[in-house]
């Protein structure tokens, strides 16, 4: 089922949580709402679920206006950040809850409920835990039970609030892959909230970047990473080296040197911000030509790559470059030595102060 969010506004007192948000969630896809904490992504998810009422705007499920439908009628599956498992019920009863509270004429028979819950527990590979209580489960197990419980009522969409937020790194990785497979198996339109870019880029079909209550960019993971639409997206996703300067005869003049600009990046004399990812730098010992001059602070070897930390010779700004380890060996850099950083690629935006959190 497709979801359309139209011009949603939501404030809490003076705080603007959502500012005119419009978004399309395509049918059967896994969409990530990604942004720093406090950006409004959880509020958006709760508005879609009906757990929060927006001040204005509409929510459409399959083109049908559901803005005024109560949560109960929206038929969404919601997985809470801390799972919200009923602590006094067994795992089995937790999963069965949604089936048991249906009106009598819609309710399945006891044996059907039993069969269905067992099937769901098998789906999440926890059929052997049915008689336990939530307190006796590990975090990852609770997460999967919360998912099974949400799926039991055959929701039209699945909404997950920071699904891996409360788990440790190892479990997080395993569950991520498992959730992705499960999503492919079920084909259920799903939205999940996360502040972890790696999680969003690895899992989602579509990533929605949110900052300060507004959508910055919507796109496929590869697209938002390689073609950020705004300075926020550029600096939020991955690591970037930041430059600021003026266009002088087609190149960006910055304190530590000059950067070649792609054609049509800006008028002569315009102030621009430029971003270069660490792996997009060439490190050379040439003393002239384009690029910025920087002093080597230290070099670290990380697996196949080497990270070089540098300091701009005039600006004193920290820079970071990543080059293959073999190249580092060839260069044989000495700390304190001055080198030239030449970007292979850079992305340019009109100058403005960007504070990435």
């Amino acid at each position: 089922m497709s979801i359309r969010v139209e011009h949603i506004n939501k404030r809490f007192g003076d705080f603007v949580a959502l500012n005119d948000v419009t978004l399309d969630v395509p049918d059967g896809k896994l969409t990530a709402l990604l942004g720093p904490s406090g950006c409004g992504k959880t509020t958006l998810l709760r508005v879609i679920a009906g757990l929060e009422q927006s001040d204005s705007g509409r929510i459409l499920f399959n083109g049908e206006d559901s803005s005024n439908a109560h949560v109960r009628e929206r038929n969404v599956g919601f997985v809470f950040q801390h799972y919200a498992l009923f602590r006094h019920m067994t795992v089995f009863e937790n999963v069965a809850f949604g089936l048991r509270v249906k009106p009598r004429r819609e309710r399945l028979s006891d044996s059907e409920i039993r069969a269905k819950v067992t099937r769901l527990l098998e789906l999440v590979h926890l059929d052997w835990l049915g008689h336990r209580y939530p307190a006796q489960l590990s975090g990852g197990q609770r997460q999967r039970i919360a998912l099974a419980r949400a799926l039991a009522v055959e929701p039209r969409v699945l909404l997950l609030d920071e699904p891996f937020g409360a788990l440790d790194a190892k479990v997080r990785k395993d569950l991520r892959r498992w959730l992705r497979d499960l999503h492919h198996q079920l084909g259920l339109t799903s939205i999940f909230v996360t502040h972890d870019q790696e999680e969003a880029l690895e899992l989602a079909d579509q990533v929605v970047l949110i900052n300060k209550g507004a959508i910055e960019q919507v796109g496929e993971p590869a697209q938002v990473y390689s073609q950020p639409a705004t300075p926020f997206v550029q600096s939020f996703l991955g690591h970037s080296n930041f430059f600021e300067g003026r266009v002088v005869s087609g190149a960006l003049q910055v304190e530590d040197g000059g950067l070649a600009l792609p054609a049509g990046s800006g008028d002569e004399g315009a102030r621009l911000s430029a971003y270069v990812r660490p792996h997009e730098f060439q490190v050379t010992r040439e003393t002239s030509g384009p690029g910025v001059e920087a002093k080597v602070a230290r070099a670290l070897e990380l697996g196949a790559l080497a990270r070089i930390e540098l300091v701009g010779v005039r600006s004193g700004r920290p820079f970071e470059a990543e080059i293959p380890k073999r190249e580092l060996a060839k260069l044989a850099l000495v700390p304190g030595e001055t080198v030239r950083l030449v970007p292979d690629a850079l992305r340019v935006f009109p100058a403005q102060e960007v504070a990435a959190e």
Partner: protein, 336 residues
Amino acid sequence: MTDLALKRQSAGPQGWRGPLVWGGLALGGAAVYFGSQDSLLPSGALTSVYALFALLGLGLVNARSRVLPGFRLSLAVTILMLFLIILIPLSAVFINTAQLSWAQIWSAVSAPRAVASYKLSFTASLLAAAVNVVFGLILAWAITRYRFPGRKLVDALIDLPFALPTAVAGIALTALYAKNGWFGSFLEGQLGIKVAFSQLGVLVALVFIGLPFVVRTVQPVLEDLDAEFEEAAASLGANRWQTVWRVVLPALYPALLTGFAMAFARALGEYGSVIFIAGNIPLVSEITPLIIITKLEQYDYAGATAIAAVMLIVSFALLLAINALQVWSSRRTERS
């Protein structure tokens, strides 16, 4: 994100207290005004009913589209019961007082017996609350910081004054401190200190009923106080006494003050545990609640009502002070 949203959300309603309080005061004023007219009952009751619906309406206005069910029902039940059982009867004290002339009110509240009772009630309550602060802190400290045999029993029995009927406490304390009692025979017989049937007896009873307030407000703060603060102080060279005096006690001030105010408020209104031990000697050991009862027994409803109004005003002021204290102390702990 969620945390922030919730904080904002809970900050929201605070801004609405202003209009509500002013509205309530205006309605209360109207109730007193109508009440002071001749046709007391209909208009007085009518105003109260208006107030009821105004409050109900205020709540219902923002009842639309709530996720959790039962908002309207629980609001209606809460407000209806609160008004019918508590607020309307309580307003009777003020409405009836407003009907009296100033001379009547003044003669009732400034009668020598009444004034003597204010002095006693006020002084004894203040002293009792002070004693409770000292021993409440000692007991709370011992229970939370040390392990000793009987600790759990002590912890459980601290609440005894809450659970023991005041009349039972009253006769038990009287029997203890009477001239032939366990303590009285020593205090009065050997030392010549008369406790039962004196002002000292009032103090003893008020100390008894106020004890749990201080212990129970200080105890949780003491339990939650991170040992790291004390370790930090020690690592900076403070000795144990300096650590307690400069680090631990300041953290307890709000709780101690709240406990003091609660014990004081409770002591002011206390009746059952005091009247047996006080002896109720006019101008000497009569407490204010007893004056009200005495006036009622003489069918002097006007006098009883006027004195009750004075007591209620003091109680409400204390209630507000306690609330403000709690808000203040929770802000203080939040910041750290």
